[in-house]
Symmetry: C2
Subunit: 132 residues, 2 copies
DNA sequence: TCAATCAAAGACTTTATTAATCTATAATAG
DNA sequence: CTATTATAGATTAATAAAGTCTTTGATTGA
């Protein structure tokens, strides 16, 4: 069990957008170069972030991506959910009883992690880290 | 990102062993039947649990598997780690700075989940759940 | 001792998921 | 219009998970 590389790219891209000038859209070309990934691939990842309403895109010359919300309103969890989806990490296909303790505990454990990630906002990274 | 099916099998097997008579080893045949999985495959999973010192095995007639520790000394996390390994969920291959906040937060979030799972022991399931 | 029973190990195959590419289409600024 | 940039979908490649098959080794008890 691992976070996908896509999530990694998404987090780094968001970090970069956070530390960039807020009103100048940044093209996928540049974002991809920095991370050593192909523009077309990063593009699909960013489209997910757009659909999750975390960033917005502009087509055409001088277009690109920029934050749609304030830094303090974007959490790690938002980004992760946008890429990985929101389904539970533990899936018991059978699911016979709502009182199943295994499932309950696994879900609660996950909730603990998500709670932490939800409280971590992009604003905490801004300035405190340089993107490379 | 999902827990593997192997983890699911491991948890269910442990639950079954917990609710079984502690001194009579149970063969993989029976354990596999209950879960609708092939004995040889389950066997490799159980071998991991043996190596993690959670259960012990006996070869030969009347052999099989049984708990090696007390119920209250086996946590969900023990089982999960035995199957999934202990590597971090988030891997940044670059890893340039020990001060990287992204990595720090991701690791800390995971720690929250693990802490919860470490406190959940098999003894909490015993009796409260029927295996099916 | 020997045959039946059971676990361990390793090589292998199949299936599923993730990662990535390629190509075509749509939007927009200048 | 045309250059630029995002979106979408189909497709391929790479990696990981799931599962099978076969052999070996240990143990029991007849
Ligand atoms: S016991 Fe719980 S986790 Fe297992 S199959 Fe039933 S509902 Fe799912
Ligand atoms: S910024 Fe942090 S997470 Fe990203 S590559 Fe560097 S060390 Fe890894």
């Amino acid at each position: 069990m691992k976070y996908s590389k896509a999530t990694n790219y998404a987090l780094h891209t968001m970090l970069y957008l956070v530390s960039a000038a807020p009103n100048k859209p940044i093209g996928v070309q540049l974002l991809a170069e920095r991370q050593g990934v192909s523009p077309t691939y990063l593009s699909k990842i960013l489209t997910k972030l757009v659909k999750a309403d975390l960033i917005e895109s502009a087509s055409g010359a001088n277009g690109g991506y920029r934050l749609k919300r304030k830094q303090e309103e974007i959490s790690f969890l938002d980004i992760i959910h946008a890429i990985e989806g929101t389904a539970s990490l533990f899936d018991c296909t059978l699911n016979h009883s709502s009182k199943c303790l295994i499932q309950q505990e696994m879900v609660e454990a996950e909730r603990q992690m998500e709670q932490y990630l939800q409280n971590k906002k992009m604003s905490e990274l801004a300035g405190k880290m340089t993107v490379d």
